[in-house]
Every structure is written in C-alpha cells, then in structure tokens.
C-alpha cells in the first residue's frame, strides 16, 4: 500500500531553515538524505521531493476566458507544504514509523523539530469484484 507523507510547516514556525547556523542546516540535510537512503534500501521508496518556499507559491484560478489568474504572495504565518514522500509499505504502522523518522529531523541546535507529518493513503486499492 502506498502512502503520501506531507511535511506541513507554518511559514513563521521553526522550519525557517535559511536562518539556521551552518552545522544545523547540514545536520538537517544529512538526516533527510539518510532517511531517503533507508527507504531506497528497504525497497519502499516511490518518490520524495522538496518544494520551493512559500514566497514563490501562487494560487491559480481560471478567469472567465479560462486564462490563469494568479494570487500571492502569502502571509508568513500561512502553513505550507515543505515537501513530501510517497512510500510503498506493508502496513499503515510502517508508514507512521517513517513519518516519525521524518518528524524528528534536527532543527536549530540539533534538537528534534518534531514536525507534524500528514499521512494519507494513496488510492491504489483493488476494486471489488462483485458490485
């Protein structure tokens, strides 16, 4: 079963990685790289991406003529998706365990961030035979 693990952080929260000391940034990056390596070696990795910051995000809607109308920049306090993983695992429990490993990524001073990771199952189930 596949799960999407979404790392949501408030724009003014602790995940202001740009302001961290160098060694803290490096420790954080090392943690994430190690986590991805573990997932690859376990044969559970499907995809993982980090997203650009919220200052580059745009909300897009179609106008009357169907052309895109963009909206942004957003207030710093708005929660945003920093990145995500898609994993293929044997149980929900394993997906939660991976999310916990992402959650404890070190922040400033090396302390675990304990970020909230939203875990959602990807629609990939088997359709019923007898409808």
């Amino acid at each position: 079963m596949k799960y999407m693990l979404m790392m949501n952080t408030p724009g003014n929260g602790p995940y202001q990685i740009g302001n961290w000391p160098k060694q803290d940034i490096q420790a954080h990056i090392r943690h994430m790289i190690a986590l991805n390596k573990t997932l690859r070696e376990a044969g559970e990795f499907v995809a993982a991406e980090g997203l650009t910051g919220p200052d580059q995000a745009r909300l897009v809607r179609a106008g009357k003529d169907g052309a895109p109308i963009t909206d942004g920049v957003f207030p710093e306090s708005k929660e945003f998706l920093a990145g995500y993983w898609i994993v293929d695992v044997d149980s929900p429990a394993r997906a939660y365990q991976i999310a916990a490993e992402a959650s404890v990524a070190p922040g400033p001073g090396g302390a675990p961030l304990n970020m909230a990771i939203e875990v959602r199952e990807v629609m990939s189930g088997i359709p019923p035979d007898m409808l």
């Binding site: 079963m1 690859r40 070696e41 376990a42 044969g43 559970e44 990795f45 499907v46 995809a47 293929d88 044997d90 199952e121 990807v122 629609m123 990939s124 189930g125 088997i126 359709p127 019923p128 035979d129 007898m130 409808l131």
Partner: protein, 418 residues
C-alpha cells in the same frame, strides 16, 4: 533506427523457460541469489540477441550457457572469498557439455522454486516480486512498472527478498509431504495476490504494462500441470479464469466500474467460462472441498446466468454457507448477506449485516457500508442508503470504486428529489 524486438512467441518461450533454466542452474551452483541474477541477465541477453541473430536451435541450452558464463564472470569479479566458495562448482567445459541434457527434473524444480519464492519468511509484497522475476521470467523493469514504483526500488525489494532467503538457510529442495501442503497454500495465496493486483492495473493506459492477472493465470496453469490432482490448485485456477472471463465487461471506456447487474454479458468470455466450469467439475469427488473451489463455484453460478435476473441466488447462499463453516471470516458473511437479501429480501440481509457490524472485525472497512448502502437502496430507505454509500466512498482506497459509490449516492438522492 529502432532495435528489433522479440516477437510475442519468443517472449512467451523465454518466460516459460525461465524457471527451468534457473532450476538447472540451481542444481549446479546452489546459490539462489547469484543464479537468479545470472538467469535474469541471460533472459535480457536473449531478448537483445535473438531478434538480431535468430532463435537458437536449443533455446534452453543457449540460456543455460549464457547464464553459466555470467555466473562465472560474476564470481571471477567477486571477492576472493566468494571465489573460493564457488571454485569447486566452476568448470566451464562441464557446464557447456551439460547444457543440453537434464529436462526430466525441470517440472518438479519449478514447483520447488515457487516454494522458495513464496517462503513464509517473506512479506507478501516481496514474495510477489520475487515470484514474478524468478518464476515468471519478468524483468525488474517490467515488475516495477506493473506496480508503479521506480525500478531501483523494485530491484532493492527483490535483492532483499533473496537476502532473507539466504539468511533463513532455506535449501533448494522439495519440502517434506506435511510441510508441502502448508507451503502450497502460501504459494496459492501469493499467486492470488498477483491476480488481484492485476485488477488495480486494469484501469488506465496499460499498453506497456505487464498484465498481472494473465501472468497469475499463466503461473497458476503451471502449478496445475505439476499438481493435477490437487483440488484446491484446480479450484484457484478455475476461480481466476471464471473471474477474468468478465474482465471486458466490468469496466467502461473511461475505466469506470460496471456492476455485475449492469454488465453486458455478451462480452463475457464464453470459452474461458467453459474452461473454468470444466476445471471445477473435474475436482468433484477429489477429496475435501476447499475455499478456492467454493469461491470458484460462486463465480461459476454468476457466469452461467444468462441475465442477472436468472442468477441462482439460493445456490450462492448455499455455497457461502459452506464457506462460512470453513472460515470464520466476516467478509464471507458479508457476501452471504447479499445473496440472502436477493432470496429473502433486503431486511434479512440487513439483519445479518448488523451482526457483522457488531462483530467488530470489519470496523472501518468500506465494504460493510457499501453493501449496507446497496441493501438499504433495495429496501427503499433512501436516506440510509445515501449515508452508507457516502461513508463507503470516504473509506475505499480505489478511485474507480469511490467514483461508483459517489454516483450511486447521487442517483438515490435524485430519485428522492432532494
């Protein structure tokens, strides 16, 4: 310029030969992980060379030779420790000379290989991947594509599965009679899993994708050939064939689910239904009736009804009652409730579902709500029908089923005029 590709005939031949070649390699070198890699490379070499140079006179011998050479190369390039390990077994001259003999033991070895790939120490996902590669002769890329994961991830899963087999100390030999029955059960479960996975893949563009349901049927035919007297083996093969016979009718052009009641039965594969029914009939009187035979019998009852209204529901109730006695499984009760509702009316079915809900094992399972929605709709309780359809739609993990349930709920609401 595009490279010449293997014709389907040769592709089938390669895939059929894969487990035989691996069996022959195992007899010489014993090391499952290394032999399996060597055979995979030989298969890939064949798919590149045969279209250019033509099919060799003895395809099997050709594959064994190439695989043996790869094995030797691999060991030579490996560490000295591994070289010592293998040195006794390595003799190219002997390998080449022996390449064209030994076919009598092949058949048994395919079964032994299946027992190995479906070992209980592996997770279902690992057993599935390893079986498709080692016995099915599929490439890692094909398997990865079928499961929509990156090739590197699938390669890692397969290599870890082989590592698990290595550390468990499993030997390449036929299991003893008592263990055999139990291990065969695991093999059947894994093959059924592969078959069901094929259903997920049946929606959407699949031109380049391996058809897992057909692959499961092909492997299952092999098992049936090797164990023709096992009634449950025949039962599962029949179940797969009888279910697959409805494939073309069970989804619309956009991949939407079409329920049994609305399927165009002229699109069911008549030949497949006849084959499945014949397989199942042949098991009668061959010892204990098992769960796969019973499920196949249910599928046969559906397949043999010319119209939905002609379905022999009392027969289906009887079959599920037998199945329920064998298996204390609320999912079986759920299915029996549908059949009971068709015979005695929705109230009787709903009453059974109350008991299923109270049992608690299906808590959170969307199928319970989906069936309740259906029976409430039959009973004319539209409010309850909508409520349960929507609850099921929220919980299913299949997109096509969610779309179906949402549409059902909307239809009932419209009939209500709200």
């Amino acid at each position: 310029m595009s490279r010449p590709v293997l014709d389907p005939d040769a592709e089938h031949l390669l895939r059929d030969l894969a487990p035989q070649v691996l069996g022959a390699m195992m007899r010489r070198y014993r090391d499952f992980a290394a032999c399996e890699d060597a055979v995979q490379e030989a298969l890939i070499a064949a798919s590149q060379q045969w279209p250019r140079e033509g099919r060799p006179d003895s395809p099997r011998g050709w594959l064994i030779q190439v695989a043996s050479r790869r094995m030797v190369d691999q060991v030579r390039s490996d560490s000295a420790r591994r070289l010592r390990e293998y040195s006794a077994a390595l003799d190219i001259g002997q390998v080449v000379a022996a390449a064209s003999v030994e076919s009598e033991a092949d058949e048994d070895e395919t079964l032994t290989l299946l027992f190995m790939c479906c070992h209980p120490s592996l997770t279902p996902a690992s057993a599935v991947a390893l079986t498709l590669r080692a016995v099915g002769g599929l490439t890692t890329a094909q398997i990865a594509h079928a499961f929509l994961v990156p090739e590197a991830t699938m390669a890692q899963r397969i290599s870890r599965a082989k590592q698990t087999i290595r550390t468990s100390g499993l030997r390449f030999e036929r299991p003893a009679a008592l263990a055999r029955a139990e291990r065969l059960e695991t093999v059947l479960r894994v093959l059924y899993l592969i078959f069901n996975e094929g259903y997920t893949a049946s929606v959407g563009p699949s031109l380049q994708r391996v058809d897992l349901s057909s692959e499961a049927i092909r492997l299952m035919r092999g098992v049936h050939r090797l164990a023709p007297d096992d009634a449950e083996v025949a039962g599962l093969l029949a179940l797969m064939i009888l279910t697959d016979a409805r494939r073309d009718a069970r989804s619309g052009p956009a991949g939407e689910l079409i329920p049994l009641q609305q399927q165009d039965r002229s699109r069911w594969a008549r030949g497949a239904i006849d084959e499945g029914v014949a397989l199942l009939s042949a098991t009668l009187g061959k010892g204990r009736v098992g769960p796969y035979q019973l499920q196949a019998a249910v599928a046969a009852v559906h397949d043999e009804a010319v119209r939905y209204e002609d379905t022999d529901w009392p027969q289906i109730v009887a079959l599920y009652t037998l199945l329920e006695r064998m298996h204390d499984n609320p999912m079986v009760t759920l299915n029996r409730a549908i059949a009971v509702a068709m015979v005695q009316g929705p109230a009787a079915g709903l009453e059974m579902l109350d008991a299923v809900a109270a049992d608690g094992r299906l808590a959170g399972n969307h199928r319970l709500d989906a069936v309740r929605g259906h029976l409430f709709e039959m009973a004319g309780d539209c409010g309850a029908a909508v409520r349960h359809y929507l609850a099921a739609a929220n919980r299913t993990t299949n997109t096509a089923e969610r779309n179906y349930l949402l549409t059902q709920a909307a239809g009932v609401r419209e009939d209500l005029g709200t």
